[in-house]
Amino acid sequence: MYQTTYHKGQSLDQVRKLHAELPEPSYISGGFTLIPAMKNRLAAPENLIDLRALPELRGITRDGDRLRIGAASCHAEVAGSPEVAQSIPALALLADSIGDMQVRHMGTIGGSVANNDPAADYPAAVLALGATIITDQREIAAHDFFTGMYATDLAEGEIILRIDFPVPRSAGYAKLRNPASKYAIAASFVARGSDGSVRVAVTGAGEDGVFRWFDAEQALADRFETASVEALQPDPGMMLSDLHGSAEYRAALVKVMTARAVDAQGSVDIC
């Protein structure tokens, strides 16, 4: 790791000022991507500004048909929140399936979403549930937020304050974990909105990161049953290929995971 200076953020104004004034700054939340990158000398921010204690980023509340989750909520907080469990049980169980216990007590939803790792869990939920990302500058619809592998619509220095999830009629998540990293090789989040619309978001498998599988959405909107998915053929041409899964294998898994997520409405199916 290169030399770096750690600043514990206290307020939104203070961290924005630090970010504007300090050389080579980077915001940090749980640090589960940034710290390993720094340890491998692949990232070299001179100043780390920790967002986790900012009051604007804290708290999980249910507000009418919206579930609002502060960006600094760690995965264990989301997994253990009665509001989340009552509103979107699949989201709580998804959070409980991330990494291991240490990861879940350090990693945050804001950090995960801002990083947009192609195999991270949260982007699938955010996209499928049609959530809104509330930043210190604006509100961004999930559909506009994820712009490619490790890429988002966030501007330099823009801070995610919270994520607002519309409470769906039901949602389910299915994931096959990479035996080494325990990240998703392929995972699918299937949500049915209160208006009957269906959204399917897939993580771990796409070569451009999380994506919506529109064919499946349409088929499931017609008939919400696993058979609707089984008739489809995801395109291997848009899948990731690496040591742990070829594009063809991932394409096959996308179908399996989506069907399982349909079966697992109100819950998750993790293997």
Partner: protein
């Protein structure tokens, strides 16, 4: 008080001929002691004496040592698999903050430091001897601590930077400019051995530097020519790495007044490292003191000297300051000595009734860029016929250089490879003949009445009841209940499969060991021994042996290891040798100590030595109430009550057993779950069953890990390793392992006084075969006949796809 029992003692006779002495002299004093021992401690699950220290953070691991004025080394490593070094510029690094020294291969040559003295050829009396193609001593390549003219693998050390802090050293290492001329590379053993491959060492134009033949080739050919059935197969036993919890580390200081180096480096044997480093530096061994105390995992990877050990010693002398190196996890994945990587082509000839007639094997070991050890090839060579009575066999054993990290004897060196080959071959034969694979195995097993059994390549199996192991394993596994379990799994949409393997392995290892036993006036008994535990519980199991021999409480016995100024001789811990060698020499030393003590006691009590009875640590004069304890003697004698005993013991032992794995496969995701695992292991006499079971469990996890997840994946085009972290290198974990059912079979070995064979590695040896066979069994209905390790979901999916495509073409 040195005892050199070579003369007359049959167990360690070094006579002519190749037949090992099977029966330890039954008349020796240590045998009487073993026979008389009440075994109050031996055979009992005595709690580990070392655990309190380790669990309360009082372990002494290498990185725990902070020497005054300590500086830090960072290594500049090659990014190329194969390249010529054109120039190295250290100017910018030398100018960086805190930098004390930057050293290169040229500096090393100038300072007269030679290559690491690995001594890779197995050379004990009963090792399979390997030679160069056409005969003679193989060229093994000079493994210098820093590359001199060219680099031969990614990660090879090119320069070392020494600075005041680890961060400064790492920052400056990036400033060392190395200009390379890239050369064509080859990483795969078969490609390296093929015509026209890039040449790694000019001295070995074809890269194959070992080629030996064993067995009876003519008889084997004749048997194959007339056999009713033959089967053959090609296997590649993949490359893995040890992934020790504690990364390798070293810290050294140099005293210019005495000219002595002091090295703290956890390893598998400090004494061996001292000797090898002395050769590397061209100095007398007494100028080096090596400390190796607690070691966070070895598995063979830490038995050999690492370049960084020599570098910190040299840099300490150059800078006049202590120098420390601690590998990062990335460095560990890249440059820890790796394991396996054997290609094997095997064939079996059978008669019409399924009796094995002959076996052929062609083994090719990928040693990497330098030859650090030929133990895996040699060990495997001796065991190609496995647990089976195969009258004749022919084996070609070759080793080849490639542009990869060096391989070394890793957890059960060489044995899982050949066990995998023979067990898969037997299974293929059963299928070809349409017979029950278990019945085929039974028909061909070596039977107890054949012991000692000479196998077709000349190894003598000492003892064992192979079919009993098999029966016991089948019972523990509930083999007959499999059909019902399979039905139940199938109702849940899962495919169940089971894989069985017999195994026999050899424990040879360095033949010499010394024990020093001293009794102190506070009753404490110290045993100095030259083995090196890395989790095996020597401090407990060795103490159990000495406590029983001397009839004292185990709490009073302390095992001293790891400082070469205290431990003068010792073979280290490898090849499952420690309990057998240490147990034997400790029993001998105990006998000597009691003989010595009896003489002193007789003098003190003014009686004849044979008037004394010994029990519970006390000599009693018969018919009187006069007595003197060992502790009293130690307190009253002018000289220490101490013996030093040496032993040299060549005869190998052959631990053996049977294991069975059950897997459940999800036919949609192709995820494999291990649902049941049984292991029956004949370890000879078991000193501490709790420790042996624990070692077996770890051994199983290590074998299953290789079968299921672990792989040092390398991109053939670029020569770059691509599984350099836990993100890509899958490991056995608590959440992917079943509870193991392990049982210890104790068939006492006749080769040593305690009857010890070896434990732990028996968990690893059959596991590659059992897991693979279980997966193939589960997939049998889908037409899958072969699958390469690791059996990841991707690999299983691919195998099923390939089988479907093949069937579609038909």
């Amino acid at each position: 008080m040195n005892a050199h029992p070579d003369g007359g003692r049959s167990g360690n006779a070094l006579g002519a001929g190749d037949i090992p002495q099977m029966n330890w002299d039954q008349t020796g004093p240590e045998m009487k002691m073993v026979r008389d021992a009440l075994f109050r401690h031996v055979g009992k699950p005595v709690r580990r004496k070392e655990d309190h220290r380790l669990l309360t953070g009082k372990g002494r691991f290498t990185d725990d040592f902070l020497l005054e004025g300590q500086t830090y080394a960072a290594i500049v490593r090659s990014e190329h698999p194969h390249a010529r070094i054109i120039s190295i510029s250290a100017d910018a690094a030398l100018a960086a903050p805190g930098v004390l020294e930057v050293l290169t291969g040229a500096d090393m040559v100038q300072d007269g430091i030679g290559p690491l003295a690995h001594n890779p050829l197995p050379s004990t009396k009963f090792d399979m001897k390997l030679c160069a193609p056409g005969g003679g001593i193989p060229f093994v390549g000079e493994h210098h601590a820093l590359a001199i003219d060219k680099v031969r693998h990614v990660g090879e050390a090119v320069a070392v930077v020494v600075a005041e802090t680890p961060g400064q050293a790492a920052d400056a290492a990036e400033l060392v400019e190395v200009e390379y001329e890239a050369l064509p590379h080859v990483v795969d053993s078969a490609q390296a051995a093929a015509q026209g491959a890039p040449v790694i060492w000019d001295e070995v134009p074809g890269n194959v530097f070992v080629e030996s033949s064993f067995g009876d080739w003519d008889a084997t050919e004749r048997a194959f020519a007339t056999a009713a059935h033959t089967v053959e197969a090609d296997f590649h036993v993949s490359r893995v790495t040890a992934v020790t919890i504690e990364p390798r580390a070293a810290v050294a200081q140099y005293d210019p007044e005495t000219g002595r180096y002091e090295l703290f480096a956890g390893s598998g044997g400090a004494v061996k490292h001292k000797g090898e480093l002395a050769r590397c530096f061209g100095i007398d061994a007494n100028r080096i003191r090596v400390h190796s105390y607690d070691v966070g995992g070895n598995f063979g990877a830490r038995n050999r000297v690492y370049p960084e050990f020599a570098l910190v010693m040299w840099a300490a002398r150059r800078t006049g300051r202590p120098v420390k190196f601690t590998a990062t996890r990335s460095e560990a994945f890249l440059t820890d000595y790796q394991g396996r990587d054997l290609r094997t082509k095997v064939a079996l000839a059978l008669d019409a009734d399924g009796k094995f007639l002959a076996m052929r094997a062609d083994n090719l070991s990928n040693v990497g860029a330098f030859c650090v050890s030929l133990s895996p090839l040699s060990k495997g060579a001796g065991l190609i016929t496995g647990s089976y009575d195969i009258p004749v066999a022919a084996l070609r054993a070759r080793a080849v250089f490639t542009n990869t990290m060096c391989t070394q004897a890793y957890r059960s060196s060489g044995r899982p490879e050949v066990t995998y080959a023979i067990e898969r071959l037997v299974e293929l034969a059963a299928r070809k003949l349409g017979v029950d694979p278990l019945e085929l195995r039974r028909k061909n097993l070596v039977h107890p009445e054949q012991m000692p059994y000479r196998n077709a390549v000349g190894q003598y199996y000492d003892s064992g009841e192979y079919e009993q192991n098999m029966d016991r394993a089948l019972e523990l596994f509930d083999w007959d209940g499999f059909a019902a379990r399979k039905d139940e799994a199938s109702q849940r949409g899962k495919l169940l499969g089971r894989g069985f393997a017999n195994y026999v392995e050899s424990s040879i290892g360095s033949p010499k060991e010394r024990a020093e036993i001293e009794v102190f006036d506070d009753g404490r008994i110290e045993v100095v021994i030259g083995t090196q535990p890395s989790g095996q519980g020597h401090e407990t199991s060795f103490a159990q042996v000495v406590a029983d021999m001397l009839q004292v409480p185990v709490e009073r016995v302390f095992i001293i290891i790891g400082d070469t100024d205290v431990v003068s001789v010792g073979g280290g811990s490898h090849s499952g040798r420690s309990m057998r060698h240490a147990g034997t020499v400790m029993a001998m030393a105990s006998a000597e100590l009691l003989a010595l003590a009896r003489g002193h006691a007789a003098e003190m009590l003014e009686t004849a030595a044979d008037e004394l009875a010994y029990a519970d640590g006390v000599f009693h004069q018969r018919g009187t109430n006069r007595s003197v304890s060992l502790q009293d003697l130690a307190a009253r004698l002018a000289d220490p009550l101490r013996v030093v005993t040496d032993n040299e013991m060549h005869t190998p032992v052959f631990p053996n057993g049977a294991a069975i794995c059950e897997v459940e496969i999800d036919p949609n995701t192709f995820h494999v779950a291990i649902t049941r695992y049984v292991s029956v292991d004949d370890v000879g006499r078991c000193i501490n069953p709790m420790i042996v079971h624990g070692q077996t469990h770890g051994g199983i996890a290590q074998g299953v890990g290789q079968a299921m997840w672990e792989l040092c994946a390398i991109d053939h085009d670029s020569g770059q390793p691509i599984a350099g972290s836990f993100m890509d290198y899958g490991m056995p974990r608590t959440d992917n392992m079943p509870f193991f059912i392990s049982e210890i079979a104790e068939v006492i070995s006749p080769t040593n006084p305690l009857g010890v064979k070896a434990g732990g590695e028996g968990g690893t040896t059959p596991a590659l075969a059992t897991v693979t066979l279980a997966v193939l069994d589960a997939l049998a209905g889908m037409g899958v006949e072969d699958i390469a390790m690791p059996l990841t979901p991707q690999a299983v999916w691919q195998a099923v796809q390939d089988a479907a495509n093949t069937q579609a073409k038909k």
